[in-house]
Amino acid sequence: MHELLAVIVKEFLQLRQDRKMIPAMVVGPIIQLLALGYAANLDVAHVPMVLVDQDRSPASRALVERFTGAGTFDLVGAEDGPAAIDPWLVEGRAQIALVIADGYGEAVAEASAGHPPRVQVIADGTDANSSGLGLGYASQILAGAGAEMVAARRVPGGARMASGRYELVPRVWYNPDLKSRWFYVPAVIAMVLMLVTMILPSMAVVREKEIGTLEQLSVTPLRSWQLVLGKLIPFLILGMLDMLLVTGLVTGLFHVPLRGSLLVLAFLTFLFLLTTLGLGLLVSTLVRTMQQAMGLCVFVLMVPMIYLSGLIFPVENMPRGFQIASYAIPVKYYANVLRGVFLKGSGLGVLWPEALSLLGIGLTVLTLASLRFRKSLE
């Protein structure tokens, strides 16, 4: 126990001496958080729109009003014919074009089932994300306009069933405004933890390899488990502190609700850290230099894990093979944990499969890494 403590104390002393490590662990999370919180914002607002209104009727003006009134679309110009739209989209001055053809007003006035009013919405597909969302908003606006039209045609007090259509009233739970920030910001916790508990410890172990102290230590009575725990526990503690730091920022600065219990979050974070610490140690047994450790951690582990975990891209949209592979990725479970605890207020009653998966992967990787590490000492 004293031997273990000696290693832990030494590790903290080293971390304190390292003028690059501490800023990386405190400033790093904050920068990542600001970047993802403010920049990685997929919510669409103020989409520049060019208008071609060939109808010029009160009805067409009312429709344009609907588009520009909500702040989602900004009218940036008007043209006489659809042919003139192209330069607007090519030059990026507009992202979406609304074309109201001649006869729209009449069609609205008649509103017969055989001749529904038609408008055309053209979107710049190069930025598929915002255009898709823009189109989504546009169809919502048009649907709203259509529904009102039908209602207006009805005789006062007339039968509600007259239109004969279902009316869809969506309710989005947990994140009613579909704020993408709520979706992305918890992901920062996962990324920060991978940095602090996977990349840093693997580099700390490899560094001892480089300077020869690892060999020196293997000629002492220090057991390999004491060495492994002594090297990993400090990063476990730092990881937990970073988790608290980012959680504080996420809830304080970005007003993402923490609906579940912090204790549950801490416990499941601990299980997640078993996997990242294990992977970090495993990497350290595979490489000789700190640069190799860094490269392996970032490019072979961290980036693919983030992509395949559902942290950013939904797993459901991936090809089957990738979906299966994602089951081996601890970040996938931790992403569920983060969103569950933050947004849904889930407890262990719901998240136990994630807890078990993390524990299973964590123990497997840690055992494997420790065995390899022990072998590498001999």
């Binding site: 004293h2 031997e3 403590l5 000696a6 290693v7 104390v9 030494k10 002393l13 080293q14 001496q17 390292d18 300077i211 020869g212 102290t213 060999e215 020196q216 230590l217 293997s218 000629v219 002492t220 009575p221 220090l222 001999e378």
Partner: protein
């Protein structure tokens, strides 16, 4: 006689096809300063790493303080000290933090720890430098700190793998002073070096060449191989040609190159000198000189290695 502090019995270590240590046997007595010598890659460090339990022997066996290295490497590690040329210290930590850490690793605590730390600081003459960052220390200080760290747990046997590499001559001399006083306290010391002046300070030395033990004994014993013979140092302009010519003469025991000079071993110094000069004169390889010298350890080594090469 007491059991040897360390013994190697047909110790062999292979890495694939490469034989790093080839059937090496020797004993080291308690309190002895034992030197392992040889060129780079001769197998010195491998022998030490085998005895520290960092490597396991392919065949043969070794015992340290009566413990078999293959059976109880842990037991060996607890009882030995190990220091390498790399001075494996934590550069960013202070002298005291390094000492504290290694004391902790060796399970020292309380009063025993305090006593050993005091001892280490006195022994390494590190007083007043306790709070300096190790990185900022000159090589000689780092070397003494590394030795102090390796001795905190009072091992009865210490391995020093090229401990004086990259250190200035004054620090080297001082370091050997420490080695002598340890030995006087009964600590057995096994040291590798390729400085021959350091080898002369060892009680006994073993010479390794390509993994094999080619000579073993005290410096005086090893120089005995020249008993009844003389070593002549010869200078001449075309020394390569001269070496080739002299080696063919049956009255020449050995002719070796030492830089731009030749060391020639003959039975009779006067007779040899006359013959060498006459031969060089005939070849027009002049001006030439030949002088009797006291054989150095280097002569002994070259003799041992060449003698082994002649009889495979």
């Amino acid at each position: 006689m007491a059991a040897p502090a360390l013994e190697a019995v047909h110790l062999t270590k292979r890495f694939g096809d490469f034989v790093a240590v080839d059937d090496v046997s020797f004993d080291v007595h308690e309190g002895e300063v034992f030197g392992l010598l040889g060129s780079n890659g001769a197998g010195k460090s491998t022998v030490i790493r085998l005895f520290c339990g960092l490597l396991t022997p392919t065949s043969g066996s070794g015992r340290v303080l009566g413990i078999d290295i293959a059976q109880d490497p842990e037991g060996v590690r607890r009882r030995i000290g190990y220091m390498t040329q790399r001075f494996s210290l934590y550069d960013e930590l202070t002298v005291r933090q390094n000492l504290n850490f290694f004391a902790g690793v060796y399970g020292l605590r309380g009063r025993a720890k305090a006593e050993r730390l005091d001892w280490a600081i006195r022994m390494g003459d590190l007083g007043g430098k306790e709070d300096l960052v190790t990185r900022s220390l000159p090589g000689g200080w780092k070397q003494r700190l590394a030795l102090a760290c390796a001795l905190l747990h009072q091992p009865r046997l210490v391995f020093l793998d090229e401990p004086t590499g990259g250190v200035d001559p004054i620090s080297r001399r001082r370091f050997w002073g420490l080695i002598d006083s340890l030995s006087a306290d009964g600590v057995t010391i096994i040291v590798t070096t390729h400085y021959l002046d350091e080898a002369e300070r060892c009680d006994r030395i073993a010479l390794l060449d390509q993994g094999r033990l080619v000579a073993l004994g005290s410096v005086a014993e090893l120089k005995e191989v020249f008993a009844g013979r003389a070593v002549l140092e010869v200078t001449c302009p075309r020394y390569l040609e001269a070496q080739e010519r002299l080696e063919k003469e049956d009255w020449v025991r050995e002719a070796s190159l030492f830089g731009d000079r030749l060391h020639v071993v003959v039975d009779d110094p006067e007779e040899g000198r006359r013959r060498i000069l006459a031969l060089l004169e005939r070849d027009g390889n002049t001006p030439a000189t030949a002088q009797r010298i006291i054989p150095s350890l280097e002569d002994v080594f070259i003799h041992s290695i060449e003698a082994r090469g002649a009889t495979p």
